[in-house]
Symmetry: C2
Subunit: 195 residues, 2 copies
Amino acid sequence: MNDEPSAATRKPRRSDATRALILSAARERFAAEGYDRATIRAIADDAGVDPALVMRYYGNKAGLLAAAADPDLRMLSIPTLPRGAAGEALVQHFLERWEDDDILQALLRTATTNDSAAERMRLVFAKQIAPMVARLSGDEKNASYRAGLVASQIMGFALCRYILRLPPVIAMRRPEIIKSLGPTIERYLFGTRPV
Amino acid sequence: MNDEPSAATRKPRRSDATRALILSAARERFAAEGYDRATIRAIADDAGVDPALVMRYYGNKAGLLAAAADPDLRMLSIPTLPRGAAGEALVQHFLERWEDDDILQALLRTATTNDSAAERMRLVFAKQIAPMVARLSGDEKNASYRAGLVASQIMGFALCRYILRLPPVIAMRRPEIIKSLGPTIERYLFGTRPV
DNA sequence: TGGAAATGTCAACGCTCGTTGACTAGAATC
DNA sequence: GATTCTAGTCAACGAGCGTTGACATTTCCA
């Protein structure tokens, strides 16, 4: 997904700070406005840089999106939990991810009208969510089915809370969210699959 | 929401057929591409008219969206069902609505980057979903909380299936969807609210 | 120390978009 | 039958966008 050498192996460039500034501004703009409405000019402005520099570093607008929208859901940090604990733990983990990382909002806002962003969401689903669900559920055979259901509930909640801002969904406090959605996720992980 | 006189009371205009043609083209374009990417020029082209005519009839692009995105979820057609039947019936009803009416896709695609569309979704939630949930659950006091949960699951599933097109979510057949999501909706309607 | 590379700016291009106002043809009305 | 209203077209505008290439400045290295 990221064909650049990792930060550890690559020798530092003098422009790294500027690149990071641009990327951070891009994430914020993409998160707030989505791909189409977020302009390179505005992003460059936020970063205190000329628009042409953004092109120099990231090729074009799609390249900037690709560089900015590479989320890490940190699925490996979730321990393998028994039934009765896994659902709520998962909900809590996702809530934290959504609130800590602008990228997820950016990606969701963008993916509804931009197919390369949607493709990236499918990749995140396949590479991060599905394996995690397979591990937690212990049901390798139905893992992608279960992962699809988990994703539908988690992303639906994020959509209603962070994007559409439905008042009763915003009003919910974190413990209530965890207690409300936890059993749903639990059932999607461990419930019997209908015939 | 719609300040024009209804079709029944207003005397017919010679241009009604053209207006309907434009509206239908707009719905399709908005559904397929979202507000920003759908251009008035393309919509006018689909309808076989000049772009200026769209402006004449709907004022501006926002007015066209407002006229086109006025969904009816047909909530009144859902009978008051007992526990054990309501969840699955609701899922089935929403599935049909999403597949029959382009507007819902258009509205969702648009609402992620356009606040007036998001406002319209909040209105649909408040005027159509919440009252229906209040009626079905019989729990007037917690109706908006329950409605928020129901919306999060239903819209999340629609998002994953129709917009993001996650493969395992597309692969599910209708009976499986109903059996999988039904119990979740059921719990959101009738389950005890956590403290 | 001198030249090459890297970093960054500036002005402009070509394109598309929403929107406007003048205009034409046909229907309705008196 | 003259006039007024409605339906629709046409060409153009101004603005904003992504993108480009030429240029200035600073840093690195032999």
